[in-house]
């Protein structure tokens, strides 16, 4: 049996930041590696057929000695070590996608709406602040630290996170806790598929996510509007639900920075603030994580944050929503239970008092 040529053993002992394994998680270093390679390539448009395994990311480059050592061990002597040009995740790059399930047939909001009307407090609290302030945000290289109750903790490069997955187009309704809504054509893959690869243990009852903490790049973090870094969490059942998406793009293109590049969460039956952006940490926990909004205003925002027209925010009604892009004279539309995904997710909350667990 040949080992995956791109495999590299996971670093042993305590993790040092910036180091990650570029092990092919798909075959886990046990197969030929062709699956991983094929899938990685699939993420690239045909006119940019740079094989992803030929590209040396910056962090890989900085760790090249270790890399060479590992590469030697892995018998993959033919690995191209020269760093090839081109930021693979330059803004607006087209992604290869397939049609995913659960898409609504409602008309998606315009690119303009989706990319200029955002809540991303790391870049400012105004709706257009993220669009203005996130343009120079550096999302490559990007490392995600996986920790907690799982079999494969470690630091993973963006490429390793998304590599094995097929990107799907999914048009979801998006309902903000502020009573406005959009329809967004996301590109992503089921979060559950990703989490499975880390082999969550039986003690893993929740997943906790963290956004990058970098006040230099994220001007919004220079003021303590929320406690930084932003933290969000899901129950394991919610995280594994097929609706839950790890999002890498929108409108068939890579995620613009203001939308949470390079990796963000989307849970369409929950209020938008659950969709944590620019994720750098995934932790499997026994206990329910203390999430950012819940911590800052526990009376107003709960852990579950399921869209529910019957449970008002203490200061405003959630019964109706304003659809962005519907114009100055449009009527608000009624908000649907679980944002219209009741059929899919209601059984996750069987027996739970949704008024108390808002």
């Amino acid at each position: 049996m040949t080992r995956c040529r791109y495999a590299k053993p996971l670093p042993k002992g305590p993790q040092s930041p910036g180091r990650y394994s570029s092990i092919c998680l798909q075959c886990n270093g046990a197969q030929s590696g062709l699956i991983g390679k094929f899938k990685w390539e699939a993420a690239l448009k045909s006119d940019e057929k740079v094989r992803s395994w030929e590209i040396t990311s910056e962090s890989n480059y900085l760790n090249r000695r270790q890399f060479i050592l590992d590469a030697g061990l892995a018998a993959g002597a033919g690995l191209a070590l020269a760093s090839l040009p081109g930021d693979l995740r330059a803004q607006g790059r087209e992604l290869d996608t397939v049609q995913g399930p659960y898409s609504t047939d409602e008309k998606p909001n315009s690119w303009q709406d989706v990319t200029t009307y955002n809540n991303f407090y790391e870049f400012g609290t105004g709706k257009e602040d993220p669009y203005r302030n996130a343009q120079d945000f550096v999302t490559s290289p990007w490392t995600v630290t996986v920790s907690g109750e799982c079999g494969k903790p470690g630091n993973y490069a963006y490429e390793d996170i998304v590599g094995p997955h097929t990107f799907e187009d999914r048009i979801y309704r998006h309902r903000c806790v502020e009573a406005w809504s959009m329809v967004v054509p996301w590109v992503g893959f089921p979060l559950g598929d990703l989490l499975q690869r880390f082999e969550p243990g039986s003690d893993a009852r929740f997943v906790r996510f963290k956004t990058l903490l970098d006040p230099k790049q994220m001007p919004g973090q220079r003021r303590a509007v929320l406690r930084w870094p932003y933290v969000e969490g899901l129950t394991m059942a919610e995280a594994m639900h097929p609706l839950t998406l790890m999002v890498v793009g929108v409108y068939g293109k890579e995620l613009p920075n203001q939308n949470g590049a390079p990796l963000r969460l989307v849970t369409p039956w929950k209020y938008g603030f659950k969709g944590i952006k620019s994720i750098v940490e995934i932790e499997f926990t026994k206990r329910q994580p203390a999430t950012s909004w819940e911590t800052s205003a526990p009376r107003e925002y709960g852990f579950y944050a399921n869209v529910n027209p019957e449970v008002s925010h203490p200061r405003w009604s959630q019964a109706r929503e304003r659809r962005i892009g519907s114009g100055l004279f449009a009527e608000k539309q009624p908000t649907l239970m679980f944002n219209g995904y009741e059929e899919e997710v209601a059984d996750l909350y069987a027996g739970l008092d949704l008024r108390k667990n808002f």
Partner: protein, 209 residues
């Protein structure tokens, strides 16, 4: 300042006060590439509300400014500024009632009754109405002393207005806090001045003849 130059300055101030409205009109109709953004109703609502509050605070700045500079002609602008505050606040309410709630009276009443920040804002608007109605020279003459008493309502109105703003902010209360501080200093100035003057008057009275 002469009568002529005051009249000219008033016209100028009037035009300047219309600039925020003008900008909104351009944005509403998409003139010169301007736009209200992705959520036009919200933009209109917030901008009109903020300008209502701005004009309230500007109006409250006139009197202190007059005492500090000693230029009593400043008072000649106070009525116009106050009426602009009323104008922007009314527009704010009209956008809320018309565009946001589409004149659904039941929904509006529910909002006013159940949402404290709307209750507070609506109270401020209601109290502004008599002030606007009694802003004419004729009413001032007719009401005499009571006019000034009535127009002290502007203080609770401003407090309710800032409160309304503070309460509707989701989390980032920086702007609202700055408005609160501005209002606080305007009110504090008046209290301080009153204190100084009564103290002075008392001293004067106590002096032996």
């Amino acid at each position: 300042m002469s009568q002529g130059s005051i009249r000219f300055a008033k016209m100028l101030v009037f035009m300047v006060c219309l600039v925020p409205l003008g900008k909104l009109v351009l944005e509403t109709f998409g003139i010169a590439g301007m736009s209200l953004g992705a959520n036009p109703v919200e933009t209109l609502l917030h901008r009109l509300g903020i300008w209502g509050l701005n004009f309230l605070l500007i109006t409250l700045t006139v009197t202190p400014l007059r005492f500090i500079t000693g230029k009593s002609w400043l008072l000649r602008f106070r009525r116009m500024l106050g009426l602009f505050a009323f104008f922007y606040v009314s527009m704010h309410f009209m956008v809320y009632a018309g565009l946001d709630q589409r004149f659904d009276l039941q929904a509006i009443f529910e909002d006013i009754a159940e949402r404290p920040y709307i209750t507070v804002g609506f109270a401020a608007l209601v109290m502004l109405v008599p002030l606007a109605l009694t802003s004419t020279n004729g009413m001032m003459r007719r009401l005499g002393r009571r006019w000034q008493k009535l127009h002290r309502l502007v203080y609770p109105i401003a407090i309710l207005g800032v409160w309304h703003f503070y309460w509707q902010v989701k989390l980032d209360t920086l702007d609202a806090t700055l408005y609160a501080l501005a209002l606080l200093s305007l009110l504090a100035y008046r209290l301080w001045r009153k204190y100084v003057r009564t103290a002075h008057a008392r001293r004067t009275l106590q002096k032996p003849a």
